[in-house]
């Protein structure tokens, strides 16, 4: 689902008040009885089909999910914890469809959960909004940044990309954190590479909070190809740039996750928890709570949000 911003092409949405029953946080309360076969099924499921996307866009998503599953897989992640009617859902007339795939981290893993999803939202004006999202959140036992990838296709010639390692600390207060995770990793060169393309412009979210959540090397851009060769050029950009850059950043992030962690002390852990909780609840509040009921109807929205809120622990 969309992270913390509303693309300009999305329908203007009014805030909603969704009372969500809070499910106590242990492991998800829905049964995880997945066998190897079922896991294979998920691989071939609606999620990985990524209908409605161009090939390069789909390839990018498949690459990223495969990287997570292959490298983090059974050492770090439990099988998917999402009930079938939330794994794939739609509104009454099928004009809005979504899939959700979540794998929680095992107890000993620093990973809290990883998430992959897509949304296909037909617009009243014709055309459709396609939102693809991959996220990886860490526990408060580590200060490794969270991973966030989101590629929104507003039209065949206009996309918005958000790709970032979200800082867990105030980088002003912790210049060492900035150096370790953002300077030494040379993330800046990826941002610059995209920045140099004439079709790429910085994108300013209307949410100030979101702007602040993003790291100093965060990629938050629009990709716009106005002229005749528009859609092909967009595909080329995704194939030549977005896909390899996303893979590189995912690789860097997974290296951080599986590498030698820094021991996080008690007081630090409390601050990390508080901060993470704010980031997660803001993400849901700004992005999903208001839009989901409108897109999917109250019943479906409640069902999906309950799962998300339980995993996000907000």
């Amino acid at each position: 689902m969309s992270c913390t911003f509303l693309p300009p092409c999305a329908c203007p949405l009014a805030p909603a008040n969704l009372p969500a029953p809070k499910i106590p946080r242990t492991r998800p309360s829905f049964p995880c009885r997945l066998s190897m076969e079922k896991q294979q099924l998920i691989r071939g499921s609606k999620l990985m089909e990524f209908p409605y996307l161009t090939d390069p866009h789909r390839d990018t998503m498949v690459d990223l999910i495969s990287a997570m599953e292959n490298r983090l897989g059974s050492h770090h992640l439990l099988p998917s914890s999402v009930p079938p009617d939330v794994e794939h859902y739609q509104n009454e007339n099928g004009t809005s469809q979504g899939t959700l795939h979540i794998r929680c981290g095992i107890d000993s893993s620093p990973i809290d959960f990883v998430l992959a999803s897509w949304l296909h939202l037909e617009q009243p004006t014709g055309g459709a909004l396609d939102i693809t999202n991959i996220a990886g959140y860490l526990k408060s036992s580590t200060d490794v940044p969270h991973f966030q990838f989101e590629l929104v296709k507003c039209s065949p010639t206009f996309l918005i990309l958000f790709l970032d390692l979200i800082p867990r600390k105030d980088t002003v207060f912790s210049p060492d954190y900035l150096k370790t995770y953002y300077e030494d990793t040379q993330l800046e060169k990826f941002r610059q590479r995209l920045d140099q393309l004439p079709e790429v412009q910085p994108y300013f979210s209307s949410s100030l909070y979101f702007r602040r959540v993003v790291s100093p090397t965060g990629i938050v851009v629009s990709i716009k190809c106005e002229d005749g060769a528009g859609p092909e050029r967009v595909e080329e950009i995704i194939r030549e740039h977005v896909r390899p850059i996303s893979n590189d950043i995912m690789r860097i992030w997974i290296d951080m996750c599986v590498g030698e962690g820094v021991e996080v002390g008690e007081t630090e852990r409390a601050v990390l928890e508080k901060r993470d909780s704010l980031i997660k609840s803001k993400a849901i509040e700004m992005d999903l709570s208001s839009s989901m009921p409108k897109q999917f109807g109250q019943e479906v929205a409640d069902r999906v949000l309950r799962v998300i809120k339980s995993v996000y622990n907000v």
Partner: protein, 315 residues
């Protein structure tokens, strides 16, 4: 598309807290009468407020901003106490001049101001033409947690100007959404940013320093104004018609809400503020002065300035 300055980053200027300024001026004047001291000081201040080598709109903007701050804060600010050869200095060949002006807050009168700092640099470029950098920044002390103020204009050619205008936050905005709401949403700072960004010659500017990117707020105006050679005077026009009014509005917001506003700051919070403020000062010196000074002024002058700064101010 972000384009980068050939010179490193921003001349953020030195951010020091002149707590021992009075004792320093005593040492300096041991061999001079106090009236001589005042004359030297006056000379320094005059030199600073000249803002030479700039276009009229650019100079007027800086002069207006400095006088607005000084008039509004009045007796909350102590007089500038920098030695004259730090208030105004140049390199050996005279191809680079600069001026520094600091005024610290009047602690006994419970001023919330730590200090204000203004500066300009003029540097002739080997290619012909010149680099002009002007800045004004204001730092608040832990009696308040309100944001600081910063404006910096970097003109590297007649058709290219970088503008930074911001209220840099003093707290972690992710952890404190209320603070974000009070100082950045309710003040509608983003509207001003959007107005400026609609002008065709205005493009986003992304600092090459990740630390500077972290420092500025989500509503920071960080832009490059790029005009055509076929339109001489357009930069000056943009400064006069757009930058000037917006800068004054933002300064007004800062004076009303931050410098003169009242905030509740608890003990524990105060300690964190002090630590964070201190880090910012150290880092901006590192980023800003460390690389620029020796290059522009030669190591001898650079050492003198940096030495004077480190002696006089606590960092």
């Amino acid at each position: 598309m972000a384009v980068r300055l050939t010179l490193p980053v921003i001349f953020f200027s030195s951010h020091f807290s002149p707590s021992s300024s009075r004792s320093r001026s005593k040492t300096f004047s041991s061999s001079a009468s106090s009236s001589q001291m005042e004359l030297n000081n006056e000379f320094g201040v005059t030199k600073f407020k000249e803002f030479p080598y700039l276009s009229a709109p650019h100079r007027n903007l800086m002069v207006d901003l400095v006088s607005t701050v000084e008039n509004r804060l009045g007796s909350q600010l102590l007089p500038c106490s920098l030695p004259p050869d730090v208030q105004y200095y140049q390199n050996q060949t005279g191809s680079a001049h600069a001026s520094l002006h600091t005024r610290s807050g009047n602690k006994p009168s419970h001023s919330q101001i730590d200090f204000i700092l203004g500066s300009w640099i003029h540097c002739e470029l080997p290619t012909g033409g010149a680099l002009n950098i002007t800045s004004l920044s204001a730092f608040l002390n832990p009696l308040t947690d309100a944001p600081n103020f910063l404006i910096e204009l970097i003109q590297s050619s007649p058709t290219s100007l970088i503008l930074i205008l911001d209220l840099p936050p003093r707290k972690d905005l992710v952890l404190c959404p209320d603070y974000l709401h009070t100082f950045y949403e309710e003040t509608q700072l983003d509207t001003r940013k959007q107005i400026l960004e609609k002008i065709p010659e205005v493009k986003p500017y992304i600092s090459s320093s990740l630390y500077i990117r972290s420092l500025v707020s989500p509503t920071a105006i960080m832009v490059r104004i790029e005009t055509e050679a076929s339109q001489p005077g357009r930069v000056e026009e943009v400064i006069k018609d757009h930058v000037d009014p917006i800068a004054k509005e933002v300064l007004g917001i800062w004076l009303d809400q931050c410098a003169c506003g009242k905030r509740e700051v608890g003990e524990a919070e105060r300690a964190i503020l002090e630590k964070r403020d201190g880090l910012i000062k150290i880092k901006t010196i590192e980023v800003d002065l460390g690389s620029n000074f020796p290059r522009l002024f030669g190591p001898e002058v650079a050492d003198r300035i940096l030495g004077a700064m480190r002696d006089v101010f606590t960092v």
